[in-house]
Every structure is written in structure tokens, then in C-alpha cells.
Amino acid sequence: MTTLDTGPAAAPRVSFFNDPVIRGIIYQVVVAGLLIAFIVWIVGNTAANLAAQNKTTGFDFLWKTAGFDISFALFPWSRASFYWEAFLVGITNTLLVAFVGIIFATMLGFTIGIARLSSNFIVSRLATVYVETIRNIPLLLQLFFWYFAVLKAMPSVRESILLPFDSFINQRGIFVPRPMPDEQFGFVWIGVALAILAIIALRFWAKKRLETTGRRFPVFLSSVALLIVLPGLVWFASGASVAFEPPVLERFNFKGGIQLPPEFVALLFGLSIYTASFIAETVRAGIQAVNKGQTEAAQSLGLKEGDRLRLVIVPQAMRVIIPPLTSQYLNLTKNSSLGAAIGYPELVNVFAGTALNQTGRAIECIALTMLVYLIFSLLTSVIMNWYNARVSLVER
């Protein structure tokens, strides 16, 4: 013990209520008491109101037959499926559009953000116009614009535009052949896995060599080569083949193949383009936050342009970029709920919309939906915080 014990006798004499410790305890007890009273009141109020409304409640409806159709699902769905399956369809459809949207928005956002700082007048001005236009128009309007503009621009089913490889584009979406790999194809996946392992080993080795000898090795190009050559060799050696099931025009629509409905395309477009305008500003802020002296220092070390960005500027910019970027990812995920307005069957449309209405279990459906968004948000936060911790300044 290194603390200096002055003994109780030395403690200043204060009245009971002025003692900060006692005061602290009193305040905390009061706040906790109020919080509990508030929760009790809400539960009581909800119970009384539900009883007064003569409504049936409970989660048993999840195991009842849904009885409606969902246009776009990642796994088999029919009207005989259960409500919990509808819940799952909603979740996976939301995840799909959010995941792909985040990737697109990040790529587009970084490009525009860097373009805004370009020394080329036209490029930077175009980026400015993009950012200022897109982020100032409500997302819902943009979604309607994309959806109905996309629909209007597309030819009708019978006049579909034929793309290479038996693909078609029309008002009902984009149709591409569905790959049907045979059993031998499993070896090719093993080849891919091996290639990835080899790439990790190669990177490790190249870094070691750089540190010991100072000589560089073209890791990226050789990685790409590995990824193509190794599975390719396995493919030929194993004699695996992939059949393609092309979409075929029937009486009304194309059947078979993989369909990308216009609702998905429009939502993806709208979300990516909208969120990218915010990400672009975040990226610009991040890059501008890095002191110019860092660039000069890197130059004086003799680093090449690419290395300067990759090793000095971007890692420092990322520290500024990541926290607001996380918020944008969360926003994109939550904004995907607007897909309901243009008929994309995501969670809000399928579960908080159709399922809620068909069952009348408003509180249950909304609660579950909110829970899902909460979990999505927390997961995104956890992942981004982990990444943030990795890139943050290590203080020694």
C-alpha cells in the first residue's frame, strides 16, 4: 500500500447530506427507483391497454401458415411456409441489400471523396456537384426516382434486350443463366482454398524478405496469378464441368436462371449512391485531417507515391474516417427499410408489413423487427470498433 493513511480522525467534518459519497448514493438510488417505476408503469399500461382492446397476443403465430407470396427470397418460399420463415426471408433480404450496398457505397464513396480533392478542376467540381445534389434530396424520393426511372427505361418482357451469355434485361429485372456445377466441382473449391492459403504464406514470406533484405516482391500480381492458375489446373485435372441453365421466355415471364428483380436493383442503386455522398465527405475529411508534413516526411524518406499513400497517409486518415463510416454503414442498413415503398421484400415490408397485418400482432412484429435492426447495428458496431482498435494509434 502506497496510499497515505491519515486516519479517520483527520477526515473533515461535514454534515451527513453534504458528504459527496452519501450524496452520490442517494442520487443513484433515486434514479434507479424512478427508472424501475417507469418500467413498471409502461408494462402495466401496455397490459391494461392490450386487455382493453380485446386483442390476442403472443408469439404463437410464428408457427402458423403465412398464406401469402414473397416475390424474392434466397431460399425456397411458398404460401404454405410459416411466419417465422417469412421473418427469415425478411432478414436475409435486408442483409443482402445492406451487405452489397455497403460494398458499393464504400467503393463509390472513396472514389468520389478522393476525386473531390483532385487537383483536376473538372474532376473535383463534378465530385462536389455529386455530393451536394445527392445528399440534399430525401432518400425516399431518390428510391422512387430510381425504381420508376429504371422501370420506364427498360423494355417490356417481349422486347427484352439480349445480353451476351444468354442474359436478358427487361422490366422484370435482369436474368442470367444459373450455374449448375457437377459433383467434381468440389475439387475446384479445394483448389481455391489452397490458393488462398498459398497467398497468405506468400505475403508473410514477402514481408520477411522486405524486412531482412529490403527487396520487394510483387505480392498482388502473384496472388492474382495463384488464384487463377491453381483452381484452373484443378478444374482441368479433375474434369469438373459446369452446366448453365439459361432463362427461357415463357408465356408471361422468363423462367429459370437467376433473376435480379428491379426492386432490388433500384434499392441497391438508391442506397449506394445516397450513402456514397456521405462517405465521400467522410473520406475527404479524413484525408484532409492528415498533416501535410506527413506527406513531406514520407517524401523525404524517399517513399514512392503509392507507398506514401498506402503506408503513411491512408492509415492515418482511416483513424478519422472509421467512426463516421460506421455510422454511415448503420444508416444504410436501417435505410434499407424504405425498400418497402418500392416493393422490395425486406424485413419491414415482409414482417412489419404483411405479417403484422395478416396477424394483427402489432407489438410482437414491431418488437421483433426492432430487435433485428438493433442486433444488426450492434454487430456492425462491434466489427467496425474492432477494426478501429486495430488501426488506432498505438501509444508506447
Binding site: I42, Q53, K55, T57, G58, R251, A341, G353, T354, E364
Partner: protein
Amino acid sequence: MQKTLATIALAASLGLVATTAQAAILDDVKAKGYLQCGVTGGVAGFSAPDSNNVWTGLEVDFCRAMAAAIFNDADAVRYTSLTSQERFTALSAGEIDVLSRTTTWTMSRDTQLGISFVGTMYYDGQGFMVRKADGIASALDLSGAAICIESGTTTELNAADYFAANGMEFNTVVFVDQDEVVKAYEDGRCDVYTTDSSALAAERSKFANPADHIILPEIISKEPLGPVVRAGDTTWFNIARWTYFALLEAEELGVSQANVDEMLGSDNPAVKRLLGVEGDFGTPLGLTKDWAYQIVKLVGNYAESFERNVGPSTPIGLERGLNALWKDGGIQYAAPIR
């Protein structure tokens, strides 16, 4: 009980509080001085704002009739336009006093949602509309077609049932708002637009070229459309129900907006009872003695409302059909006022 508690706990933990005004809706309505009525966002002939932004339609007339009975003023109504998804929640939460919005009377709704159906303002059935150019003659040819539907409706369930029952392939695109449904159909996203056949006719009347679209002969469901009130307030329920009956009874007795004053002197006891000349059928409802007189005087009888809003002389052009009075071969039938 345990399930209920789990639900409540979950709801409460997420901060959801249902609010409701229980019982004595009539007192609340009288106190605020107007009737809050839930209607559609606009189905021509049923409830839609006209060029002067005044709500008109068969279902709007029901709201007006209730207001006439309560306030002697058919204009003492404020309208809340609701989507199919919002309607029951709005009613349960007390945001509206009565829902008069192309709502199908079904058992699960009547028994599980804490609401009560008043009667059937319009006997309808679900139909399909297609483009004439597609050359479809029957709903049984629709296998594989893309179908535009409004979400959270009985339409959505009926269509799934019909396609499953006939072994046909199904392909729906579901929107929250009816306007988007119609627009998506017009733009060619779907081959078929399905909803109650009356609403199909109403929407078609608004198309640029109504003649390019046909409504297929198959009617695949029963859709009794009627007003709805919150369950539990008998007085309020009775006012709504007897407003509906009064509209029918007036037609049956030949009492119309034009002749109602003259009919006050009628010798027919049934007419006397309806108009409050003999007996008092208003006070037990919590209304005045001449409640039905006010309805007919200010709104008209059922036939007048039908003719004015959806009848053959309107762009909607619906025949009375099932909605004729029982004595004219239809199934509209009012319990007697006595």
C-alpha cells in the same frame, strides 16, 4: 398469460406504449365536435378527394351519415387517409373513431384484432385486371404472370390461395401504397393488377386509356366491405350499425333527400318511426329523436349515395347487383326500425 407477459415485457423494454380511449367514444366525439374517420388514400367512388379537395364517395358518405346523426351536420368529419397496413393500428390506437375504408370483413379480423365490423356497405369480390393486348381471356391463364398487390390485404391471401388451388405458378410484387401498385402495373412491371373488382373499376376509370385494360370474368373471393369500430363500446357500435341500417331503410321506404321533409307527414308508420315522428329511436342510441331524418336530409339514402358515387352514370359504372335491396334481388337487408 405467460405469453402475454412475455409480449408485454418485450414491448415495454422497447418502449412501445399502446394508447387507447376506452368506452364512451360518443362522449369523446361530442366533446371534440367532429368525427375522425379513417379512409383510403383515394379509391374513386369509395373515398377520394374531389377537384375541390372535398372527400366524396360511398364510404365517405357513411362517415358523413354518422356525423349527421350525431351532430346534425354532415360536414363535422375529419378524414385520415390510411394505407391497408396502417388502418387497424390507427383504429385500435384511437387515432380514428371509425374506419370506413374498403375493408373486408373476415373472421380473424373480427375476433382477434379487438375490432368489430358494423355491416357490409358494399358486397364485393376480388378480380383481376390485365392489358387487353396480352390476349388473356380467363384468370386460369395467368400461371407465371407477375401480379401487383397491395400489402397486408385479404387480396394478398386470396390470390395465393387461388393460384395454389389451381396449381398455377405465382409471382407477386407487393407494395405498401396502392398508388405504387397501380403505377407499377401501368409501367409494365406486372401483367396483372388484382384487388376488389370495384376498386379495379375505380382505378381503371383513372387510367389514360381505360379501354386498353380488361377485368377478367373470374371473381375469386367474397369481399364484404364495411365500416369498422373498436370493440368494447356497445353504444358506439350501435350508432354505427344503425346509421348503416337507416341508409338502407330509407331507400326501402322510398325516403330520399328530396322528399324527406314531405315524408314527415307520411301515414306509413315505418316512415314515421324512421323519421322520429312516432316513437323515439334516437335517445336509446345517445342521439336525438330525429337522428335518421338528419341522415337522409343531409346525406341521402343508400341508393342515392350509390348512384352518386359508383353507379352506372358515374365513370366507375358499377351495377347494383348484389348490392340491390333484398326486395330487388340483391342482398342488402336492414333490420327493421321498431
